[in-house]
Symmetry: C2
Subunit: 321 residues, 2 copies
């Protein structure tokens, strides 16, 4: 069977595709014979089983062309990230809401309802004051990105209830440490303040040192997404939204881990300079989610933040960077 990954050329999509192939994952008792990546550029994974469709995932014709009759799994990762969706409301709505809806509707045309993974976010929550936030707390997002993700969750649940798809909406933590360059996620700095100093480069932290964040390493995030794909529907019950496990870590604790790994000189490369737009978004997100039910379902967090930093260094070395 075939897996479609939207955003398959992105950082998380690429890791997901590579890991699905490396781990010989079976989903619903079937092994993966082919993976289609749909993104604005080609997926960098070099494997004969991977096909890249380069195109606009909000174009109905492109979507239709990527969903073939053997598609049994859809991983919908493509999104406009938080700061961009806040700055360009219409583009956020188009990609994060309309394209999700089009993809869900296109799935209704498949011979059988696909397992459908939706990458949601902790940004669905607004400030609540009762952290850790459980899955039965109302999303009251304070960003358009969070609103669009919360709407996606509702759609995935209703399309699942109707039997159009077999959905799983996973609320991702902020992923740290991402390799490469900063992006337009308001949380992008959380990777920069580790990644840049490790490379001997200055980094700016746009929020206060006491800010708490809910973090996951890329490895844990990908492992949890694959676990969500593997779980039989009956284990999930009637509500398909899952708080993914993470670590609740303050910026100070992140920088302490950096110093333990790379010394005080590395830590000294991080300069605090408040960015009100970024700070408002980050402050509106929960610093901790309640993951009792997800743990019972077998989802797991990183051991600690030092392990996440170590994993990044290991992965960079393996990639020859």
């Amino acid at each position: 069977m075939r897996v479609l990954v939207t955003g398959g050329a992105g950082f998380l999509g690429t890791r997901l595709i590579q890991t699905l192939l490396d781990s010989q994952t079976t989903i619903g008792g079937e092994s993966i014979s082919a993976i289609t990546s749909l993104d604005m550029r080609a997926c960098p994974v070099t494997d004969s089983r991977v096909t890249s469709v380069v195109g606009d995932g909000s174009d109905g014709e492109v979507i239709a062309a990527t969903l073939t009759s053997d598609t049994a799994v859809v991983c919908h990762l493509a999104a406009v990230v938080s700061s961009e969706a806040e700055a360009d409301f219409d583009r956020g709505m188009q990609v994060n809401l309309d394209a999700t809806r089009q993809l869900l509707d296109a799935c209704r045309g498949l011979p059988r309802p696909p397992r459908f993974l939706f990458a949601s976010s902790l940004a669905v929550f607004g400030p609540d004051g009762t952290e850790p936030l459980a899955e039965d707390v109302a999303p009251m997002p304070q960003s358009s990105y969070g609103t669009q993700k919360a709407i996606g969750e509702l759609l995935v649940n209703d399309y699942s209830r109707k039997g159009f798809i077999d959905g799983r909406a996973c609320r991702l933590p902020t992923i740290v440490v991402r390799p490469g360059r900063p992006n337009r996620a308001a949380s992008s700095f959380a990777s920069s303040i580790i990644r840049e100093p490790l490379a001997g480069v200055e980094a700016i932290c746009p929020v206060g040192a006491e800010q708490s964040m809910w973090l996951s390493s890329p490895r844990s995030a990908v492992a949890n997404l694959i676990h969500a794909l593997e779980l039989p529907a009956e284990r999930l019950g009637s509500w398909r939204t899952i708080n993914l496990p993470g670590l609740s870590v303050t910026v100070t604790e992140m920088l302490d881990a950096l110093a333990r790994r790379a010394g005080r000189e590395a830590r000294a490369l991080v300069r605090f300079e408040t960015d009100p737009d970024i700070e408002r978004l980050v402050k509106s997100w929960p610093g901790a989610l309640d993951v009792k039910r997800p743990y019972e379902l077998g989802f797991r967090a990183d051991e600690d933040f030092d392990a996440a930093v170590a994993a990044f260094i290991e992965d960079e070395a393996a990639a020859g960077r």
Copy 2:
């Protein structure tokens, strides 16, 4: 200033328009000079200030034509009701989601952000087991209607946060006693089992006698909608979704009130005959909402169910029926 009411020819829309005119309501310090009703038929209110636009509220051109530069208030009541949205998924999505979105987007073209009332529903909630349900409980709807209303709430909140509108999303209770004929709301029977016996006609109750429902008379519902329009934005805070007050009443208690008013013969006209589709929907809705915050904001419930029955009889007499 002008008020636009979508669904203005419907039962609730007509009552709202009539009451706005009769009560000389001022909204945001301005009095109402004109009301436009947008519906598939003309609004029956006979008043020179009322203009009916007869057309499809999910047609962008029709919406644009009804939103004039003097529109300061939009009351969005038009919807496909619960059983119909469950039976015809695409039509529910088109009217309850797409048309809401189109109307919200059209509001961005007005000279000033209008006060925007969105008729949501207790159907946004799924079975939770911790009734009464407060506004910070996650909507986990078990119907497409509830999903579409929950999405509408999220949109109204985000469009308000962005300053595109000044929104108020009111979760209406089941409205009892509605005059006229049954409709395709799963809750329609709750009016039928009072209205028909009062007219000496048999009625069927498709749910069990022990079923709890969250009810409001039309009078209280309209008064609460107008109160929502009148409330200054700063009273609402950053979250614009409001659980409207109601009475938590079982079917047995409803029939007891009927018997007190019209005798045991009237009550004997109600026959129980389970309809699994209706029962599933009604059972998925909460029998009680937590309305502590709405009460503090000045929203009010009916005194008791007997008062709601009496109000119906009074209104019917006034209407010459």
